[in-house]
């Protein structure tokens, strides 16, 4: 009996250990970001927003935040447009060509960031393109495109291609079929894919490190600040990064759910 009970208790224990392993480091950073003292010792002395104030008034941090937002938004928009075209293109090419095209589209997902960064740097240098936030955004599109496609493809594959024929039968030209049927049925997933690209770009480090000009982004600022000295502002800055990522994650999850619910409705009817 006692053996049984202890067995029953142990999964809870394992779970606690695993969760602690996953979340404790994050919790510590978040906790110290609200610390009133500048020493990184537990327990914290008191609650304060001074590090957030420091971050939001220091031009190093604010310009990095702005740069990261610009890059991530531009990257997300370009990826969404290109990725949507590619995803619909994939569903329309002949089944013999499709797998090969898909491999070409998805392959960059396997490339290490270091390699992508290095090769893109070489490419930009060869083409004599000055490094800037734009080169970063362009490089991030290369990086996020396959992820977007992966998300979009998983849903488009399950939408009945006969909807397109039906809309044509009811008089819709190909443009109207896209705007009145395909897009309304798929937009939540496309937006989710765009948000995913945003998040991936927002905290991307390796590729950015290679292809950025004189500016800096959030991950780069955190990295260089850590090299100089331990500045508690970093905790606040990292927590902001976490917040952006987390909120985007929630939005992505909700959108993916909406998309799935719509499809379920189709199947159940």
């Amino acid at each position: 009996m006692s053996l049984l009970r202890s067995r029953r208790r142990s999964p809870g224990l394992y779970l606690a250990v695993v969760l602690a392993f996953l979340y404790l480091p994050i919790a510590v950073v978040v906790l110290f970001s609200f610390n009133s003292s500048s020493t990184l010792n537990l327990p914290i002395k008191g609650f304060s927003l001074r590090w957030y104030e420091a971050v939001l008034t220091d031009p190093t941090y604010t310009s990095a935040l702005r740069n990261s937002l610009i890059v991530a938004v531009v990257c997300a928009i370009i990826t969404t447009v290109l990725g949507t075209l590619a995803a619909f293109g994939l569903t329309h090419v002949s089944p013999r060509v499709r797998p090969w095209l898909a491999v070409l589209f998805f392959a960059p997902i396997t490339l290490p960031g270091l390699f992508l960064g290095l090769s893109l740097l070489a490419w930009f240098a060869k083409l004599d393109i000055e490094l800037s936030l734009w080169t970063v955004a362009a490089a991030h599109v290369v990086y996020t495109f396959p992820y977007f496609l992966l998300v979009a493809q998983s849903v488009l594959d399950r939408i009945d291609p006969q909807y397109d024929e039906l809309a044509a039968d009811l008089g819709a030209s190909s443009l109207l079929r896209f705007t009145r049927v395909t897009l309304p049925m798929t937009w939540p997933v496309l937006v989710a894919g765009g948000m995913l690209s945003f998040v991936l770009s927002f905290d991307e480090f390796f590729i950015t490190f290679f292809v950025i000009g004189p500016q800096s982004t959030v991950p780069l600022v955190i990295y260089s600040a850590m090299r100089r000295a331990i500045d508690p502002s970093i905790n606040a800055f990292a927590t902001l990064l976490l917040l952006v990522t987390f909120l985007s994650g929630v939005v992505i999850a909700v959108l993916a759910r909406t998309g799935r619910a719509a499809r379920k409705g189709v199947k159940a009817s």
């Binding site: 024929e165 039906l166 049925m185 189709v266 009817s269």
Partner: protein, 352 residues
């Protein structure tokens, strides 16, 4: 009888697989024409060619005097109802039905009126505000019917529209389709593999096999006067009895059944010496006595509700005999020797 749609010499292959071999077909105004055949016979391809979703390799499609062979689907005055209802999940029932009218930029008032009419026609006017995802299968199919009919197509195409529904709903939907056809007067071209459905719905049935038309006729034509062995076997059940004429006298003929060697007297003359009798099981009767008809042994009995089906083994062939349940001789059992009696009137004969 006005021809509203005519196909001439339609051939189609998918890659190297031939699907249709020079099909000619006229659809009369206001009729329900069924394309009936086993899967892969090309019936759906014909429908898709009429709808404009496939281009024929050869042949022309003429609708109301206009050649529409090269017209894309969105510019054809025909509409289709698919087997999968495919209601737009992001739209309400009303907006689903209004979809085609909005594409055509019909005025708001007219849309409102025509959609209401269409919903009334299919008996679902109360569901206009529902989401398309909240309907049953039967309701969904009615809405997709309304969505197609609201555009007042010259020909309505139906691609196995009932086969996704369960048996009970299917039967009631057949009656619904007949009523809607009566009320609208629209020409229906109806694809199905279900011969019962084709017979009960259609004015004319086109029986197809392997990319060719085997027979076009009224349901009674294809059932009682099947043009080929395939038709007689696909439309209902039929005993095919090959016979050889021995001697004809007056209005009767003495024949030999090829497979069994038994002799049989027919109350008709045969068009040629060798022929195949097509005898529906319900036309045959069993008799325990006498020396009329053919002698055999009962090998199986199945109760079908309204009828009882007997399998009678003759030497070398089996005949299926269907007696009305009330009239079936209850004393007969498996193993009994009986005589299978042909009807008094002439039976249908094939000469190929």
């Amino acid at each position: 009888m006005n021809t509203v749609l005519s196909l001439t010499g339609i051939s189609k292959s998918f890659g190297k697989v031939p699907i249709l071999h020079g099909v000619d077909l006229d659809v009369h105004e206001g009729e329900i024409l069924s394309l009936l055949g086993p899967s892969g016979c090309g019936k759906t391809t014909i429908l898709r060619i009429i709808g404009g979703f496939e281009r024929p390799d050869r042949g022309r499609v003429v609708l109301a005097g206009k050649d529409i062979t090269d017209v894309p689907p969105h510019r054809r005055p025909v509409n289709i109802v698919f087997q999968r209802y495919l209601l737009f999940p992001h739209l309400s029932v009303f907006d689903n039905v209004a979809f085609g009218l909005r594409i055509d930029k019909v005025g708001k008032r007219d849309i409102e009126r025509r959609v209401r009419e269409a919903l009334e026609l299919v008996g679902l006017e109360d569901l206009a505000d529902r989401r398309a995802t909240q309907l049953s299968g039967g309701q969904s199919q009615r809405i997709s019917l309304a969505r197609a009919l609201v555009k007042r197509p010259q020909v309505l195409l139906l691609d196995e529209p009932l086969s996704a529904l369960d048996q009970k709903v299917r039967i009631s939907m057949q009656a619904e389709l007949r009523r809607i056809h009566r009320e609208t007067g629209t020409t229906f071209v109806y694809v199905t593999h279900d011969q019962q459905e084709a017979m009960s719905l259609s004015n004319r049935v086109v029986v197809m096999n392997a990319g060719r038309i085997e027979q076009i006729g009224t349901p009674a034509d294809v059932y009682h006067r099947s043009a080929t062995k395939f038709v007689s076997g696909f439309v209902g059940d039929a005993n095919l009895v090959a016979v050889e004429a021995l001697d004809s006298a007056g209005d009767g003929t003495e024949v030999k059944v090829v497979e069994t060697g038994q002799r049989l007297r027919l109350r008709q003359t045969l068009p040629q010496r060798e022929a195949v009798l097509v005898v529906r099981p319900e036309l045959l009767r069993l008799s325990a006595t006498g020396d009329d008809g053919l002698s055999g042994t009962i090998s199986d009995i199945a109760f079908l509700g309204s009828a009882v089906q007997f399998h009678v083994d003759l030497d070398g062939m089996t005949l299926r005999v269907q007696e009305p349940a009330g009239a079936a001789p209850l004393t007969l059992g498996v193993g009994d020797v009986v005589r299978v009696v042909l009807p008094d009137h002439p039976v249908h004969v094939l000469t190929d």
